[in-house]
Point group: C2
Chain length 230, copies 2
Amino acid sequence: MRPDDAAVIRSLPLFADAREETFAELVRTAFLQRFPPGVTLINENDEADFLHVVVEGQVELFATFGERETTMSIVEPVGTFILAAVLNARIYLQSARTLQKSQVLMIPAEKVRDAMGTDAAFTRAVVTELARGYRRAVKEVKGQKLRTGAERLANWLLQRAEAEGAGRITLPFEKRVLSSLLGMTPENLSRAFAVLKTHGVTSRGAVITLADRAALAAFARPDPLIDGPE
Amino acid sequence: MRPDDAAVIRSLPLFADAREETFAELVRTAFLQRFPPGVTLINENDEADFLHVVVEGQVELFATFGERETTMSIVEPVGTFILAAVLNARIYLQSARTLQKSQVLMIPAEKVRDAMGTDAAFTRAVVTELARGYRRAVKEVKGQKLRTGAERLANWLLQRAEAEGAGRITLPFEKRVLSSLLGMTPENLSRAFAVLKTHGVTSRGAVITLADRAALAAFARPDPLIDGPE
DNA sequence: CGCGGCAATTGACATTTGTCAAGTGGCGAA
DNA sequence: TTCGCCACTTGACAAATGTCAATTGCCGCG
């Protein structure tokens, strides 16, 4: 691993407050792996052996039920995933695969649990990170149960626009993935975009333009208790 | 608070491993309150001031979006709620109200955070509890996105039957609440029950009988990665 | 015992979402 | 540049879910 990779990871909320030797030990025993797109990194139902940190690229977390499948989230640099399974030494509830060429740091689960025993600041950061993930998941449930597909799309677009500070968005992944992330089929996503056309949303390929954000917000009714980044 | 109430709370996974003085301090500063049915205990968007422990009765956690409302979970003795908001000193994402006459122990959020700083065993228990809640929420998302209403009902019934160790279930709350918990309207729940009739499910008021659990399971396809208690 | 109130059910219909099939169009490889 | 692949879109239809209104039926109170 390059020194500046280590620096970026060190700056993550999860690691920023850890003691130097804690962080060094975690990084020392970790593997940094490169993967091409489309590679399955972990499978639902496997034992949680590693905490994963996406250093470069893009990783999709998804879940299956029989032949059905849904995208749970997209992890981009620098983000971690499946912390909860690692901590409780349980099995993964979600699978993961690369969407792009990616670099992933894999920290042995055992080392993470060890570090919690010896470094109170790290433990505190774990608690904060867990609570954050928990609340994100609760928000996700709220969105799924309380909103229609078009509303979820509208709010997703508004949030993206806010993050990019512009009325023009470039989708960071295929619409097929977005539809699954929002809990609908690709066909239904197309129709949702058609609905939003009446609220000033136009799309040309992966580039989406929000002509009238106020009008879109009136339709979407964004709510920090559902949409916030947490 | 009666001594045996304290004992039950002490036996919770969250408190079982805490040091004696940690637990004593938490209980000493806590309020034990009694509420009639239908009382709102907390509101979405309020600051997280207390960790709540349901000592007796039944509490419904729910969330709203505009005029829409959905039940997020039901907490029964002895269970805690809104741990995540308390830990990160954030606002509540969910509201809570009593469904029955209830007793609730309210522990000041500040004390909980203090205790984490001084008692490593307690902190470890908090991590475990948080991870558990996180995983429960992930499972909830999976169920909502991957299953139909009738499937969610079928799996809920199977899980209940397993917990009660019988083919006969008595609903612990109104069907109206169950429908909202499962993410559907009361009307739709009635229809879901009608569908399950063909799989051996009969209901007489609040008493549900599963005549053929194997047949019901064939329809429901229970999955420990979605249904498990976590 | 009868009545009132309310949860639950049922039917009719609207909306949302999914499925299947047939285009359409953009983008990379030759 | 052209071709072909593949993501995306569109239309037609089916299934799931929501809404509204009427009815049933249970339960507790008088």
